[in-house]
Symmetry: D2
Subunit: 449 residues, 4 copies
């Protein structure tokens, strides 16, 4: 018999995203027989947990639901007999992300919080924690599903499955959803009338789109988004500037890139912009920190009992909703098509069989079933292969604490310049994040001498 | 704009299956805006075409539909501007199938009409014809979909795509559907509550099944179907005898075989039974021929305006309905999950990337999208690999007319004994089928000398 | 520094092959600084060990060499600090092989001592022993090379490397050498003027040959060996009958098969011959047993101090010499080209990366370096794949003692008929060999009830 | 019968390398029955051809050899019935190389003449010419071997085999030879006492080394070459500076990089140095141009009848000797181990089966037989995969003249910054090289407007 009383746990429950998550559960109240929602955080997050947790309680109460909302710093109590565990924590909080972005930029290098130098450091900080959570889960809720949307989502999912051995882990991201909506807009089609295939890695995937007549519309979307003259206005992106690419290159590519490809396809242009933001103290991390502060001010309002509109600006829109949809799809065996991070198993021929990839999948009660993608053309193939190599090397460094491995990961990442500068940057970041990098302790002490 | 007036062509329209096909269209009258149905046959099939064609017209009329039903011997007229073309023809009619089964049995060898010596000869006869049809289609309806359920369905589909270059070809078979229904029965579950994954080749696939809770139920089905003591009674199979396997071997296999695996997993036992049928003139081909004769007697009744119940016994149940469902799924972009023969593209890692495989797929307006299967365990891996090699070699022999290649295909087929006996059998069958084997003409003349 | 005093151990030292081995060492006395030769056997082999061991001592003495020849039943004493260990033992002696061949034939099935039902049972008996030897080697001589020529050589090597984890294992066979000599004969070329590439599995490999001008001569050899009219007389094979194949099939194959392919390519013809031998008590095992008895009579002669000519008839000619050459090539980093069983590593694309394959390799001090083969054509590809699957399944059954796995291995082996007959045969052989099959003990007791 | 009178053709015969080539032939006068040597050049190279050609004649005469040395501008006359054709031409002469290096540097980008922006332009200029040569060879000497050492050697070889369809093409480079000599030096071992395995791409390969005892010495060489404190002095490199890497990264790599890896592993450091050279007009191209001018002054001396010592400084040392050795190995079926660019065929699992790779191979009369390498670790795997993708995309652009493809190749090359700067650079280089880029004519005209 399927369980009819669900216990759902969110680690990093004090996150500003939580209202969207609660809203997502409420939208699916008829699909998910929720009994308990546990929001877990750590001591440093206690205040935020309380603020957002009370808002969550008000949202649930407003709907007249009998769900229990627990706020706790005791992760093990929360995990006991959980059915679904979602993770959205940030080791070192936003201050760590600010370092991830600003330190590289101070050397004239893109930081990039998910697959640049910054994201690699986020992986170094996060991997030990996710492996620790998994140790608890194996003991306390071995049959639960782990829904990860902690960034770098792909690497964390790969660490959880490969090194943690927790097969029932699925990684999530909101970028594919945004591109689905974007395609619908430029093609002026409803979502159900288009068929999408995404493949690649987290924040490094491409997609193709077909219409109801079976006609591939990918090239048309490329033109409407990126052609210097024929591009159309789109909403849903902060501004058109976000979309610029070298059109001829994208035309040759023939499939649709995601926004993060700009860091690789137009590195220099991105760097110039980021350096401007750096000088204005307006790196993404800093902006997000301010937005978050404002959000928590709003959340404190005891009369607020719904997700405020302002959350949408935060950047992670659709993320939490996607998590709810994934949970419901697994629970209800809905066979929805979603883009998730899951084991490759040969679905993308160009990547290792055991790798975690981000790919369009049918979500069943047994987890994601990737839709076969096959081969990439040489140029995207090479790119996705070097990024996977970078991910594997980064995860290995995060697990072993080996300095040479970390430097090697920096060296092969196409947006981190190699040479002495890479070493200088690595050393500076290791020291800056030392409180969250126990595995590198010995090396950091040497550097500091 | 999607076409709103469909022209659907069936080559081999005089087949006894046609009433199921028409019934299938009628069931989907609200999904498919059919304007014309063309039933095509050849001179030898004129009488059957008229009988079954008139029944088709009565069935359509009964429903008050304005569909035009055309009966013709002019294939090119039929193909002109077609939207969907289904193929269900039999080169040499049932008499050829009788030879396919009886000649091998006269040497103490299983004939087997799809992947034994008989099926290989069916491929030799059919491949040149399908390539000829494709030549017409490329000229007359290059954008149509070709839905093949002419056996050996997998090999014909591979020939159509690899040698004919007609990408929009999909192969179909009813065996997976029967196993889906069987699993539902023994698990006492509704079809929508189970999730199936099939993979392998036509008439040589395996499957796994999960329930709504995400639990794999495959081993339970194995036990309920095949355990010497714990097996349960099932309907839907002529008799329990059909199901026998060596239980321990299937238990070790750990995934569900299909009925055709009996020819490989319990070859000797099957051979003994077939030899009994041979001596009683009750080979499957002979039984089918008699059933067909009875069916056509029924079809002649001018008052009959529905598919008679007796057709169900014919063996091909669900076949035509599957074809209609496939057509509707493509036309309507339904994203149904169906088991079809389509290009591997890496979905089954153990088989060549360009091979045609039979696999659970999501049917979109752009054709089947295989759900990734990954790797087989060594034992089924080896089996499916030798069968694919046999298929490739058979198709090559069918295309080139090379005698050594044909003998090589016989030699590696696990159910055809190798040595002088293989050569003797091959020679005898070549001569027996010479009217339909123009590509082997020269060699046959030498043999006859 | 390279060791300058070698200790070489032969397990199964009482074998009739030992004189060739000693002769091989003597031939290479200037290449190998042998200090000790240890011939190890078990209690049942004591007498043979003494006979052949004394002959070995006489052979060494005749050459005036100061090598110590030790005869012992204490395997651990022998292994201590060994540099090279060769294995040529036969669990259950020749009587077990007689059962391996006669029991299947009594059911009308080919026994075949290496990759038929008989060879599979040889694997069942041998795998536990090789794993036990490896346990000792890891403790007593972890840096030694293990040179295996115990049959089934490929499976034993795979078990040693995959399950035993002893990477420095190399498998050997004399069949490739015989084919090299045969090619030289029919092409009338010296061995050094031809270039050979072999690939496949032990007793299941194919080869190609080129001459000094870079011209491939493979098809010419096929014709000269197998063409019904154009074939030439060859020495070196007991008789021409050994060579028969269906010529058209081999012509289509386009590469040269080995003698064991006759069991798969002309199964029925081989079976007929074997059944004749069975009735005359002249199965290969029985003939070998008689030959061996005669050999040991000769060996007893205290005046005999060289390898007697009669050993050549035994069948294993070149085997021991190949072992000596392999040892010398490793010790001296000779970079000779030899055909050995070693890890695939992608050299044959169609087989698993971690599989043991038999392949032309350059022998270095770091072991064999396979020369890349690439892909097979479909027909041999399918054959080699099913055989590898059979090997893997057989080894797994040998390690686990799982009855279903053993039955599955029988089922997929193309020369073992499947069905009830396979189970009957398996049961009878399990009981017959029960003294050497501790892993199947429980099942055997059930069968015997 | 093997030919006993060889006709050897060198396209680009006016190169300053030619004396080494002639010296190489002379060294092998007893191995190669040379009858005719044809040095071919184009009108612009007439003077150099005459100078170096006369020197070649003097060198041959000095040895008292009866070889005919022909100097010609008529390529077709030279190719007629040739046995070996070597290519060492430079489209656009050294002035083009100066542009290849200086234009990128003027934008703060490494030019790099083989796999940077410069090398890609060299491919754009050279691919059409090599395909033209092959067209002639197919007609005039279809059985000849094409020995390419025109850079970028790997890409030119891939174009020749994949697009030209000329299978008997082998690519050569002198870098591996230099590393072999370097390893011998730091290990203080003779070359014949070490075993090397190289794998990767031209100017992008790694290697491992074992000694006569079978011990891998790779890590020791890494330490002796690159450890900040433990590194030893080496000759054979212009200066120690050439060798610098980030030691910890190379230690993690665990295999030996080649000198060109510095452009990828320490990009920034290399860039800084190159910019210094740029400002001093001492880019490699400019230095080489001056060296060449000096060389030709020397070559003019009518008394010079041997290869002058100064040629060694030119940088391409061993290149021509390697070509002679390759020719002799093929002609004599020597089975030497050489590192060449040849078809992968699965020898490196991480690269496409049909790719050209640079790999240790046994050279037979049938061409190179790669020694199997297997898999790389993730970090070098990703690097070699992106470089292969860059090569494939570059070759495609060179063949098609598609601007988007060229830009895409620039975009994915890790040492070419992406974004507007890539487009600016591409455009400027297209215009600068327009005389040699007929395939991009239309686009160049647009840019120039």
């Amino acid at each position: 018999m399927r369980k009819d009383k669900l216990k759902i746990v969110t680690i990093g429950g004090g996150s500003s995203y939580t209202p969207e998550l609660i809203e997502g559960y409420i939208k699916r109240k008829n699909e998910l027989p929720i009994k308990e929602i546990w929001l877990v955080d750590i001591e440093e997050g206690r205040e935020k947990l309380n603020i957002v947790g009370e808002l969550a309680k008000r949202m649930v109460a407003k709907e007249g639901l009998d769900w229990e909302v627990h706020l706790t710093l005791d992760r093990r109590e929360a995990l006991k007999d959980a059915d679904f565990v979602s993770t959205q924590f940030r080791v070192g909080l936003l201050d760590a992300r600010i370092k991830d972005e600003r330190i590289p930029l101070s050397h004239g290098i893109i930081g990039q919080e998910t697959n640049g130098a910054g994201g690699m450091f986020k992986a170094f900080r996060t991997v030990p924690v996710i492996l620790d959570i998994i140790k608890d889960m194996k003991e306390l809720c071995p049959n639960a599903w782990l829904v990860n949307f902690t960034n770098p989502s792909g690497m964390i999912t790969e660490a959880a499955i490969k090194y943690g051995g927790f097969k029932k882990t699925v990684g999530l991201c909101n970028v594919p959803i945004r591109y689905i909506k974007l395609c619908c807009e430029v093609l002026n089609e409803k979502e159900e009338n288009l068929f999408f295939k995404f493949a690649g890695l987290n924040h490094f995937h491409w997609h193709r789109v077909w219409d109801k007549e079976g006609k591939e519309r990918t090239k048309e979307v490329i033109e409407k988004l990126y052609h210097p003259e024929k591009a159309v206005e789109v909403t849903g992106m902060a501004n058109i500037k976000d979309l610029k690419f070298n059109y001829e290159q994208i035309e040759d590519l023939g499939i649709l890139p995601c926004s993060y490809h700009r860091y690789y396809y137009i590195t220099n242009d991105m760097l110039e912009e980021e350096i401007k933001s750096f000088h204005k103290n307006e790196t993404r991390a800093e902006v997000v920190k301010r937005t978050e502060a404002e959000l928590f001010e709003l959340y404190k309002d005891p009369n607020l009992n719904y997700k405020p509109e302002q959350l949408t600006k935060r950047g992670g829109t659709y993320y939490s909703d996607a998590a709810c949809e994934l949970i419901s799809s697994i629970y209800n065996d809905k066979r929805t098509s979603m883009v998730v991070s899951t084991k490759n198993n040969g679905a993308i021929k160009d990547l290792p069989y055991d790798s975690i990839v981000e790919i369009s999948s049918i979500i069943t009660s047994n987890g994601p079933q990737p839709i076969n993608w096959g081969k990439f053309d040489p140029a995207p193939r090479g790119m996705v292969q070097i990024m996977k190599a970078m991910e594997e090397t980064t995860i290995k460094a995060a697990v072993t604490g080996n300095y040479g491995t970390a430097l090697h990961a920096f060296t092969i990442n196409p947006i981190v310049p190699s040479g002495n500068i890479a070493k200088t940057l690595l050393d500076e970041m290791l020291v800056a994040h030392k409180d969250y990098l126990p595995q590198f302790k010995e090396k950091i002490e040497k550097i500091e001498k």
